[in-house]
Amino acid sequence: MTNPELLAILPQLAAGSAHTHALGFEFLGHEDRRVRMRVPYRRELVGDPASGVLAGGLVSTLLDHVGGMSVWLALNQFQSIATLDMRVDYMRAAAPGRDLLAEAECYQLNRTMAFVRAWAFEDDPNDPVAASQAAYIIHKPSLRDQSQGDAE
């Protein structure tokens, strides 16, 4: 069962930082180990002004962030985490004018690391704009506030 304290703060974790707020990230929901977010389409977020396609860097940011959300869901609590590395494949251009959705699943977890797959799409997760594979470091709770957020 999902921890109600975590459930209560998921929307804040999706959109509560200055950067995610500026991008307009939204928490849409979760099911089992999958979590879903959205970034509403906006001209400012476009990478190709001629086509109106959203920027690759925005897609990477969304995949990184939704991936972190899936780690908290798998941990069933909020803990300090940091992305160790992430690989993104860009399958096709995002449809101009459309909001972008993203889903992530933390499919494996141990004491110190979490492994995540995520994908971005407009309508159908099986027709992704981009897909990612990432590893996250899980910091020990006692070190939480001193976190270096790095791999050293």
Binding site: A18, S60, V88
Partner: protein, 134 residues
């Protein structure tokens, strides 16, 4: 000299990226701004901002060496996060390691206080053939 590629891209402008060109060396700067913060406790930049900077720096480098391309398109990118991104300016520079007819292999580094202490690195493939894809 025409304006640098990134000056035309809305998302690069959203991140306030500045391109500095000296010969074939292309450096992209992401000046610190509050709206880049992803973790207010540390405080630290959102990793996505660094990823976007690295990708844009790679695009700027490819565009500089292949001006015939309308817009360099990444096929895939891989980011390694080495250090936390502090609440200060970030610099990034890319190199093209191999360029064939269709694909270029590009690496890039992002740093803050010292070039030899990168906060993140990128490896990526870019499409050099504008005619394929959309």
């Amino acid at each position: 000299m025409t304006k640098p590629l990134l000056d035309h891209l809305p998302y690069a402008q959203f991140l306030n990226l500045k391109t500095e060109v000296f010969g074939d060396q292309v450096t992209v700067v992401m000046p610190f701004s509050d709206h880049l913060i992803g973790n207010p406790l540390i405080p630290a930049l959102h990793g996505g901002t660094t990823a976007a900077l690295l990708e844009m720096a790679a695009m700027a480098k490819v565009s500089h060496l292949y001006p015939r391309l309308r817009l360099p398109r990444p096929i895939n990118v891989s980011i390694a996060y080495l250090r936390v991104g502090r609440a200060t300016d970030v610099y990034a520079r890319a190199e093209i390691r191999k360029a064939g007819k269709k694909v270029a292999y590009v690496t890039a580094e992002a740093w803050q206080e010292a070039h030899d202490k990168p906060i993140a690195t990128l490896t990526a493939h870019f499409q050099l053939d504008d005619s394929t894809g959309d």
